[in-house]
Symmetry: C2
Subunit: 384 residues, 2 copies
C-alpha cells in the first residue's frame, strides 16, 4: 500500500445557493481544488451525495459531476451511505491511490438541499434510518435521536442544559468560520428555549440542512511535492458498520462503528488517540457529537457535557473539536459533510485556518457517520 | 497489485418476486454465494443498486444488506451509477482485494422493481439520462435510444428486422437458462410486430425490468484454492465514462466508454480481444447490444445484425454472446445486472453453465453500462 496525501482542496460556504444547480455548485469547488493542486491530470473521481435522485431526479451523478469540470472519459463513481457518503467517498478515493491503481483522484461531496422544501427534506433525511420496521411505523431520524438522547440523560443523570452548551460551543467556533451556515454566537438560554422537534431534541440539538460542495485532490505522498508545498498525509483510514435498525442494538449509548473505525484508522497510522491535536466529529444531533467523543475514547462516558462546560473542546482547550462549527453550526450538507471535514482539517494542518487556527495542529482526526452511526468512516490526517 | 479471483457465486431467477422484500431477496443469494465459497470470513461488501431509494425509501442499503446476512460490523458500500451499478460495484470490490486492503469481499447486486408500477419504473429508469436539458424537456431513456437506433438504421442502411433478429437470438439463449425472466423462444415476426415504445424502438428492442439478486465472493488468487476447486480469475478490469448528455456527443453511433474500458481491461489482462471465448454485453436495448459488440471491436461497424443472422453470436458460433439471454431475455434487474454477468460468465468458465455451456470457455469478457453508455465497466474473467 502506498502512502496517500491531500494535495489540493476547496469548499464553498454552506447555505442556500438557490441560484446554482447541483453541477454548478460542484464545478466551481472542484475546479478550485484542482487549481489549488496546480491542475494535475485526474485518473478518477469519487463523489459523496445522498439525495440528488430525489432533489434533481438524477442518477449516476458521478458522471454528471465529472462532466461539469470537463472530464468526459474519467471514471467517476457515486458512493451513497446517507449522510456518511462524504467520508465513504474519501475512503474509496484513498484506497484507489493507496493501491497504486490511480495516481490522482478527486474526492467530492455535494448536496443541494434547497431544491426541496423543508418538509420534503425531513422525509429524505429519514431515509437514512431503517424503513421496514422503524420508519414505516412512524419513527423519524429525529425520533431515533430523541430516544437515544433521552436515555443518555436518564442513564447518566445529565440535564438538557449540557446539550445546549454543546450547541453554544459549536456556534462559538462557527462565528469565526466564513464557510459556516450559521456564523453567529448563541446563548445557552437561546439554545435551551428553542422549539422542540422530538422531545427532548430541540431545534438547537439538530443540524441545519444546507447546500454545500467540498473537494480534495489525492495523490501518492511521494509525488505530493509536485502539486503543493503543504501536503497533508492521510495517515490512517478505517471504516466499520453497525446495525441499520436501532431495535437491533444491545446498547444505544454507543455507536460501536465509531470505536471500530477509529481503532483501524489509528492502528494503520501508528498513532494513539492522545496524539491527535484536533477533531471533526459528526454531530448531526448534539447527542451524536457526545457519543462520537466518547466512542473515540477522547472523553469519559457521560462526561461530554461537563467537558464542554469546562472548555475542553474549545479552540483553546486541550481537545479542540469541530473548530468549523460542526454539523450544528457550519451546517450539514448531508453527503458533502465528510468531505468538508477533510478540507477543514487539512486547512488546520496547513496552518491556513484563519481565526480558528489551532496550535499545535499536526494531527487531526475526522469522523463521519451515516444515520444513527450505521456506517462510520474515520480518517487520521497528518502534516508532512 | 495482487491477482484476484471469484471463489463463490450465486443468483436467483430474474422475475417478479412479489413475496420477498429487498433484503430477503438479497440475503438468500448472498448466503448461497458464501456457502459456495465455503463460508469465509468477510472483510467488506460492495453493492450495486439503482433505485432502492425510490422503491423502498431506504438510503444506505449497503448496511441493510450486510445486516441481512448477519454482518453487523463489516463495511458495506452502495455504489450507484444507474444500471451500470453492478459492474461498478464489482470494480470497487476488485480494487479492494487487488490493493491488499481486504482479503474477502462480497460483491452483490440487487433490485426490487416489482415494488413500483410499470409507469413509475419507466420514470425511475429515465433518471439515468441527463435531467436538466434532456429529461426535463421531455426525453426519456427510450427516446434517447430511439434516436440512436434510428440514426444507426439510416447511417448503415440497416432494416429494423436486424434488430428483431438480435432479440430472437437472445430469447433462444434464454430458453435454455433457468434463471432467465423470459425463458422462451420468439419468432422474428413476433419481435417485429410488437408495439412501438418510441419509434423505431419496439417492446422487443427493450429489456424487461425484473427483480433480481446476484453475488460473487472475491479473494486473492493465491488463496482461492482454500475456498473453491474452480477459481475464476478477474484477469483484467477497466472503467471509463462518456458525457451524460446525448447532445454533448460528437458521434452517437459509438459508446466510447466501452472501447476505453475494454482497452484498459484487456491491457491489464495481457490478452487480446481475439482471445475471448464468450461475451456478456449490456443490451438494455437491441441497439446498445449492437454498439457494445462494435465498440469492443468484435464485429465490424454496421454489421452486427448481419452477423447475428449468420449465427456468429450463437452458442455454436465463433463469438458466443449473451448466452444468459442478455438483458433482453434474462431480464434487466438494473443495478444487479452487472453482477449477473459476472456470475453467468464464471459458471461458463467453470463448465457449469448447463444447456448453454460454451466450448471452449477459458476467457470471458463482461461489459456493463450506465444509461446511454455514460459509464462503462469491463472485466475479463479467466479460468485458472
Amino acid at each position: 500500500m502506498r502512502r496517500v496525501a491531500i494535495c489540493g482542496l476547496s469548499m464553498c460556504k454552506v447555505g442556500n445557493h438557490y441560484h446554482k444547480s447541483l453541477r454548478e455548485l460542484f464545478a466551481k469547488v472542484a475546479l478550485d481544488a484542482m487549481e489549488n493542486a496546480g491542475g494535475p491530470p485526474v485518473n478518477a473521481m469519487y463523489v459523496g451525495n445522498m439525495s440528488s435522485s430525489e432533489h434533481t431526479s438524477q442518477k449516476n451523478i458521478g458522471v454528471l459531476l465529472s462532466n461539469s469540470i470537463g472530464l468526459n472519459s474519467t471514471p467517476s463513481m457515486l458512493v451513497e451511505c446517507a449522510d456518511g457518503s462524504g467520508g465513504a467517498a474519501l475512503y474509496e478515493g484513498f484506497k484507489s491511490v493507496a493501491s497504486g491503481l490511480y495516481d490522482i483522484v478527486i474526492v467530492g461531496g455535494v448536496e443541494k438541499m434547497s431544491e426541496a422544501t423543508h418538509g420534503e427534506n425531513r422525509k429524505i433525511s429519514s431515509k437514512a434510518i431503517e424503513q421496514e420496521c422503524e420508519a414505516f411505523n412512524g419513527l423519524s431520524i429525529d425520533g431515533e435521536f430523541a430516544i437515544i438522547m433521552r436515555y443518555y440523560m436518564h442513564y447518566y443523570g445529565v440535564p438538557k442544559r449540557q446539550f445546549a452548551l454543546f450547541a453554544v460551543q459549536m456556534h462559538k467556533h462557527a462565528a469565526r468560520n466564513r464557510y459556516a451556515q450559521l456564523p453567529y454566537e448563541v446563548s445557552v438560554e437561546d439554545a435551551l428555549n428553542m422549539q422542540t422537534i422530538a422531545d427532548p431534541v430541540t431545534l438547537f440539538d439538530t443540524a441545519p440542512a444546507g447546500d454545500g460542495a467540498a473537494a480534495v485532490i489525492l495523490c501518492p505522498l511521494e509525488r505530493a511535492q509536485e502539486f503543493t508545498d503543504t501536503p497533508i498525509e492521510i495517515a490512517g483510514a478505517g471504516q466499520a458498520s453497525d446495525t441499520l435498525a436501532l431495535y437491533d442494538r444491545k446498547n444505544i449509548l454507543t455507536f460501536k462503528a465509531t470505536s471500530e473505525a477509529s481503532k483501524i484508522a489509528l492502528e494503520s497510522s501508528k498513532l494513539k488517540i492522545s496524539d491527535i491535536n484536533l477533531f471533526e466529529v459528526h454531530d448531526s444531533y448534539t447527542i451524536s457529537g457526545f457519543l462520537a467523543l466518547e466512542d473515540l475514547g477522547v472523553i469519559e462516558r457521560g462526561k461530554v457535557g461537563q467537558s464542554v462546560e469546562e472548555g475542553l473542546i474549545d479552540l483553546n482547550g486541550p481537545i479542540p473539536t469541530n473548530l468549523s462549527g460542526g454539523l450544528k453550526a457550519r451546517g450539514h450538507p448531508m453527503g458533502a459533510t465528510g468531505v468538508y471535514q477533510a478540507v477543514e482539517s487539512s486547512l488546520q494542518l496547513r496552518g491556513e485556518a484563519g481565526k480558528n487556527q489551532a496550535d499545535p495542529a499536526k494531527v487531526a482526526l475526522i469522523q463521519n457517520a451515516a444515520g444513527i452511526g450505521s456506517l462510520v468512516t474515520v480518517h487520521v490526517l497528518k502534516r508532512v
